[in-house]
């Protein structure tokens, strides 16, 4: 195994934070090397330096023995480095071939290019039709477009940033095969992820980062996921104890719920029938963009539906607005923290008022009851261990984990009958994530009906009693957690019927 890329003592500081501190590692030819760390550990800064998007303050990089000092991504590509980003840069109105042509120097769409795309895709077992429009493709197919675009440039080093967050388990397995094939051909792959199981299954080596420093290098297959997680966060984690599942009466139910999407490329909800019981955690699995945002909007009351399509304790609420629903005990926490669940430029007290105003009686004759509101915010901060200087702090000054604790705590403290959360631990550090999961379980144990929408199947496996799958705006019938295999869930994520497909 010869050296493809060597990083020596790389350091990069941003005002107030040391993103990378003296990081060194070696990527060999044919090696799949994981960069493992929590959000904010410095993974992104490191690969951005390699890809020429960030200039390091100190340290050297060598590509096949030559000093590598890229000033822009074009220079990095010239050195044989390609990168597939977590967020795709594709034009939805153009075809696959046209998008690929745009990303290649001197690329012209036409039969030649289409044939090359087809050949490359086939050579790596990726199904891709060059003439289809991006807007019609699933997230997994879009990722294939990005990968093929990279492969057409015959890279020696391929950087993959959180590639499986948008994939079903089957799609992820296809991706792994492609990556193993590339490695067998001598390509070195830098694989960024925080999903431990897939790193154990795929990667030869792992560099573990914490707080901008390299804390360990290991062979992930030889360690347990639990041990990797503890290396990653630097403390011991406790797992929630298993619990008896005793569902109470139906609290929230949907019957024939239909809702259009406010986003032209969104996913309308179609004919959803679902019942949520008191005391249970219902997990809604699914890859991104399959109707989760629309479901959330329909539940919160941002989209109104037919009144009887949603009922809370038998009462039709589909036509009610968000404030009225909260008054009845239906609380929610959307995925996007800043700008949706909270206003970044407003203080924590004001953000506590945002959803607490009616149920917590924070108004008096139309005026904001300031001290009551501040007490409510203080209670959230204390009870959910939100690290902040006080209720006058702006929400955007909090870390992702702390703000998420605040947002979810704000809803839990209002004693909801139903709490619906979308991506509760997305972009949240492991310690906060573990606290949030525990508090959701505790809430269900106290009799509240909890619905967790998440793209992280491991998370749902950990906390959900029942699991249903959302795909193309429909939701499959819930099953006991554990009754469905990952493969069956994967088929449901693709919008197929597991029972039929398995046979």
């Amino acid at each position: 195994m010869s050296e493809l890329l060597e990083i020596r003592g790389l350091t990069k500081a941003y005002p107030g934070v040391l993103a990378n501190s003296d990081i060194s590692f070696v990527l060999g030819s044919g090696e799949i090397h994981a960069l493992l760390g929590e959000n904010g550990a410095g993974k992104s800064t490191l690969v951005k330096a390699i890809y020429g998007l960030v200039r390091p303050d100190k340290g050297e990089m060598y590509v096949r023995g030559h000093l590598h000092e890229p000033t822009n991504p074009a220079a990095a590509r010239a050195a044989g480095i390609a990168m597939v980003f977590q967020h795709f840069s594709l034009f939805e109105a153009l075809t696959v071939a046209e998008n690929i042509a745009l990303g290649i120097k001197g690329g012209v769409p036409g039969p030649d290019l289409s044939q090359r795309v087809r050949d490359t895709a086939n050579a790596y077992g990726l199904q891709l039709d060059p003439e289809r429009r991006i807007g019609d493709l699933s997230a997994g197919e879009r990722q294939r477009v990005e990968i093929v675009r990279c492969l057409l440039q015959s890279p020696r080093i391929l950087i993959m940033d959180e590639p499986t967050s948008v994939l079903t388990p089957q799609e992820a397995e296809t991706l792994f095969q492609t990556l193993r094939q590339l490695a067998a051909e001598g390509v070195g792959i830098l694989y960024i992820s925080h999903k431990l199981e897939e790193i154990r299954a795929l990667c030869d080596t792992a560099t573990i980062l914490r707080g901008g420093r390299k804390v360990a290098e290991c062979q992930p297959a030889e360690l347990s996921a639990h041990a990797l997680a503890e290396l990653m966060i630097g403390i011991e984690l406790t797992r929630p104890a298993p619990r008896l599942y005793i569902p109470g009466p139906v609290v929230l139910s949907f019957s024939g719920l239909e809702a259009p999407s406010p986003d032209p490329f969104g996913c309308p909800l179609r004919d959803i029938d679902l019942a949520l019981h008191g005391g249970e955690v219902l997990g809604i699995a699914g890859v991104a963009g399959e109707g989760q945002d629309e479901l959330m909007a329909a539940i919160a009351g941002e989209i109104r539906t037919a009144p009887t399509a949603i009922t809370l304790e038998g009462r039709p609420i589909g036509g009610l607005g968000p404030a009225e629903r909260r008054l009845l005990g239906l609380m929610s926490a959307p995925e996007q923290r800043i700008g949706h669940a909270a206003a970044g430029e407003m203080t924590l007290a004001e953000n506590a008022f945002l959803t607490g105003r009616t149920r917590q009686r924070l108004t008096w004759n139309g005026m904001v009851r300031r001290s009551t509101t501040e007490n409510f915010a203080r209670a959230i901060i204390k009870r959910f261990d939100v690290r902040t200087t006080g209720v006058e702090t702006e929400a955007r000054a909090l870390s992702g984990g702390n703000l998420q604790k605040f947002v979810i705590g704000r809803e839990i403290l209002q004693r909801p009958k139903v709490l619906v959360v979308n991506q509760p631990t997305w972009g949240v550090d492991a310690l906060a994530a573990s606290k949030i999961r525990t508090s959701l379980r505790d809430l269900a144990a106290s009799g509240t009906a909890v619905m967790v929408i998440s793209q992280d199947l491991d998370e749902l496996r950990e906390i959900a009693d029942m699991i249903a799958v959302i795909a193309r705006g429909r939701i499959s019938p819930p099953q006991r957690n554990g009754a469905l295999s990952n493969e069956e869930i994967g088929l449901l994520m693709e919008g197929r019927d597991a029972a039929h497909a398995v046979v």
Binding site: E302, P322, H340, A343, E345, M346, L354, V368
Partner: protein, 355 residues
């Protein structure tokens, strides 16, 4: 290529930027005067110092600042929530017309109730005029900036037509002017020998009321929330359509009230030149100069009143063109927005990226 990176400014920059903008305007103005052949220092003295030292001009400051502040306070709510009413001038004219028409309808009828009735009529007219862009925005998505702005020209022509037709003074030798309002339809003068009228303390009260509304009332919270994070506002239960209607309606009503005050106060009758004097546009600058804050707006209105009065003085004393005042106010807005951008973003010349 320039790149803009957000940065945080303290409360000090909130106050510092308007002051810096005024300073830059003064400097740029001096250069401008030198170019058109006026003595820079003497002209600046006429524009900025004379209105503060001359007792009559000092009283005129309040007379000019009152309508500017009243309109700007109304506009500030919408501007915070991202509702852009650019047509306050039209709502102002409609308010003057409706209030004035009520005053004329009860010509020579005495009663304490007439002025309140005129004020209500003016507010209603401004409100209804603002409802045109509001409803078009909510029902069809029509851009409220364009619709409200276009309606200014409709309002101006309506004013011309009415003072030359139905509202014309029957004894006025066919001049396009209404009768002079009688005493019951005229705002009482508070200070002998000046034009300080009883509408001015009303503006002050409204300013304080708006401050309470913005900082302590649920409506003010919803306005600030909508401006800070529109999606979070929807999540909190604020209906975007209702926000458009309330913000445009409020600014329309206050502009209409300002119009009535102008007609029943300094103008004393309805004429095209007496009413359509661009207060509705100048108030936009006042709103931003005052940081969209009711108390800041009261100060901002005084500052703009200085340039209005000083500009008139400069026309008389130094023979500057009337457009010089407009250029001056334009410069002020320009510098204000430029310094705002400078404090809110770190501006860098970015190296070209080929991603």
């Amino acid at each position: 290529m320039l790149s803009f990176e957000p940065r945080q400014g303290g409360p000090l920059t909130q106050i510092a930027t308007p002051l810096l903008a005024v300073l830059a305007t003064v400097l740029a103005g001096a250069v401008l005067f030198a170019f058109v052949g006026a003595a820079p220092l003497a002209t600046l003295e006429t524009i900025f110092v004379a209105p503060l030292t001359n007792p009559f001009q000092r009283s005129e400051l309040l007379v000019k600042a009152a309508p500017l502040a009243l309109i700007a306070i109304g506009l500030s709510f919408g501007f915070r929530a991202g509702v852009w009413n650019i047509g306050a001038e039209g709502q102002f004219i409609l308010g003057a017309l409706a209030g004035g028409a009520v005053g004329l309808a009860f010509w020579q009828v005495d009663g304490w109730w007439l002025l309140p009735l005129m004020s209500l009529a003016g507010m209603l007219a401004g409100f209804l005029w603002a409802m045109i862009p509001a409803l078009l925005k909510v029902k069809t998505g029509a851009n409220e900036i364009l619709v409200s702005l276009m309606l200014v020209y409709v309002a101006t022509n309506l004013l011309s037509a009415l003072v030359a037709g139905p509202l014309r003074d029957p004894d006025g030798f066919n001049f396009p002017e209404s009768r002079l309002f009688h005493d019951s339809a005229t705002l009482p003068i508070l200070v002998e020998g000046t034009r300080i009228h009883s509408g001015i303390p009303v503006v002050l009260l409204i300013g304080i009321g708006a401050w309470v509304l913005l900082s302590a009332h649920v409506f003010g919270f919803n306005v600030r929330l909508t401006g800070a994070a529109p999606r979070a506002a929807r999540f909190a239960g604020v209906r975007p359509g209702a926000m458009v209607i309330v913000c445009l309606g409020l600014s329309g009503a206050l502009a209409g009230l300002a119009g009535t005050f102008e007609a029943a106060g300094p103008a004393g009758q309805l004429t095209r030149d007496g009413i359509a004097n661009n207060y509705g546009f100048t108030a936009i600058i006042v709103a931003f100069l005052g940081r969209l804050h009711p108390l800041g707006i009261l100060l901002g209105a005084l500052a703009l009143a200085v340039t209005e009065i000083g500009g008139e003085g400069a026309q008389v004393v130094h023979g500057l063109p009337a457009a010089a005042t407009d250029v001056f106010q334009g410069l002020l807005l320009f510098f204000l927005l430029a310094f705002d951008t400078g404090t809110r973003y770190r501006i860098r010349v970015a190296t070209r990226r080929t991603a």
